[in-house]
């Protein structure tokens, strides 16, 4: 098996891991968004609460959830390893650098963007994931069945304008991260062809705009509703 480690330890292999974990997280975003959008349904959180309960009790989803944490960690750890490697490759910086002439801002600042997203994820997990799982949470009854009222926790959180701002700004950061990351992952996998690369690039930009925008919409709408 040493060939596996050798391959994954090369610069190309580390990039491969970044791409694969990144693509998984992109898929996760879609699923997560589909669930969250139910917060906006005009049913006082009924669909959302039932959905959250179904997800939490499904063993398959639980495994995927653990994998998800693992992939976030891998993505972050490998980005640190790669960044340190790359710093060593250019120990002396240029006095004058006109990088804007040859590359986009987000492509050069994936590390900073990623760090901000990681901080956001920690805030997000503490605020919701931890509260849902271990916090004191109100219950509701639908058709004789009791459910955790996660909706109430979210609605209470988004009454706070500071919280809403953190969410909206973080989604903007995510948008920039995705605007490079989405298509970059395919390139790292070795997928670049004139037949499909223009499509992937457009899809990546579309994804980077639509998905974070819809995520950001939730706290904004819920804040407006609370007033």
């Amino acid at each position: 098996m040493s060939w596996v480690f050798k391959t994954l330890n090369s610069t190309l292999g580390k990039k491969l891991l970044m791409a694969l974990t990144g693509l998984f997280l992109i898929l996760f975003l879609v699923v997560h968004l589909a669930g969250n959008l139910q917060l906006l349904l005009p049913d006082e959180g009924r669909s959302f609460n039932i959905y959250a309960e179904t997800m939490a009790s499904n063993p398959l989803i639980r495994v995927v959830g653990i994998l998800n944490f693992g992939f976030i960690a891998l993505h972050a750890i490998y980005s640190i390893i790669l960044t340190r490697h790359n710093k060593k490759s250019r120990p002396v910086a240029y006095a004058v650098s006109k990088a804007s002439a040859n590359s986009t801002w987000s492509s050069r600042n994936m590390g900073i963007l990623g760090t901000l997203i990681l901080i956001f994820i920690l805030i997000h997990l503490r605020g919701f994931w931890y509260e849902f799982k271990f916090g004191e949470i109100p219950y509701v009854t639908y058709d004789g069945e009791t459910y955790k009222n996660g909706y109430a926790v979210v609605a209470a959180a988004f009454e706070n304008i500071a919280y809403v701002i953190i969410y909206v700004v973080s989604m903007a950061v995510l948008a920039f991260h995705l605007s490079h990351g989405f298509s970059s992952a395919f390139q790292s996998l070795g997928l670049n062809h004139k037949k499909y690369t223009p499509f992937i690039q457009k899809l990546g930009i579309g994804f980077a705009i639509v998905v974070p925008a819809l995520f950001a919409l939730i706290p904004i709408v819920m804040f407006l509703q609370s007033n």
Partner: protein, 249 residues
């Protein structure tokens, strides 16, 4: 025109080095950038000072020897080699900062001269086709479709200048290495050894201490031969499929 040059001066690989400012006057817009430096060096020699060392050879954009990081871009503001850059791209009164390529795999020899033999070692590790001696093969014995020949030729136009490494924020050599891998992997003669080649050249690239690609595209945007990013994707493909299929466990 009159110019102010800020030039990186460094006596030897171990000395610290720093910028020195020089004033130049009477530079013609028709001069090439290297001719402008020749004028500077003539001035310096007359004054008994050590001239600025910089690499150059063909001065017609084919050898890849000229380097220089000019005002924050490799080979200056245009996508050419420095020898093909002309002073008409600058204005009277401009301040021009000239730095050497910066990469741990390209150590500075003196002033603006860097040692790019790491590229040579990458080529030596697999950038060739092994041919046994024998009779001369018939010219058209091996059919090669024109599109493939063209694509291979596009990759083969890489002159090994190192601007891709210089431009990359990670000092990654992937555009260079992928151009060399592609050029041979596309042709029937090169296909025979393509898997070992990919493994060996990537291993050597890593051993030389070049950075890892983050797909910013800066390399291709600055490459004087417009080597495409699709080469890097091909290298990734070749490398991953090689590692799944060669006999090296």
């Amino acid at each position: 025109m009159n110019l102010t040059l800020k030039v990186w001066r460094q006596k030897n690989p171990s000395e610290k080095g720093g910028f020195k400012t020089y004033k130049l006057s009477g530079i013609s817009a028709d001069m090439s950038f290297l001719e402008m430096l020749d004028v500077l060096n003539e001035d310096l020699s007359e004054k008994g000072e050590d001239p600025v060392h910089f690499d150059h050879d063909c001065r017609e954009g084919i050898c890849g020897m000229c380097s220089l990081y000019i005002n924050g871009q490799p080979h200056g503001p245009h996508q050419t080699t420095t020898c093909q850059l002309h002073m008409r791209s600058f204005k009277d009164g401009d301040i021009i900062t000239i730095e050497p390529w910066r990469a741990s795999a390209f150590p500075i020899v003196k002033d603006l001269v860097v040692d790019r033999s790491s590229f040579d070692r990458i080529i030596q590790s697999g950038g060739f086709v092994s041919v046994n001696t024998g009779g001369v093969p018939d010219a058209n014995e091996i059919p090669i479709p024109k599109v493939i020949a063209d694509e291979s030729f596009d990759s083969a136009t890489c002159i090994g200048c190192g601007a891709c490494v210089a431009a990359c924020k990670n000092a990654s050599a992937m555009l260079f290495v992928s151009a060399k891998i592609s050029q041979l992997a596309l042709l029937p003669q090169g296909k025979v050894e393509k898997r070992e080649r990919a493994e060996k050249m990537v291993a050597q690239m890593d051993a030389e201490g070049f950075g890892a690609c983050t797909n910013t595209g800066a390399c291709s945007a600055e490459c004087p031969k417009e080597i495409k990013l699709s080469n890097i994707a091909r290298m990734n493909r070749e490398y991953f499929s090689a590692s799944l299929s060669t006999e090296n466990i």
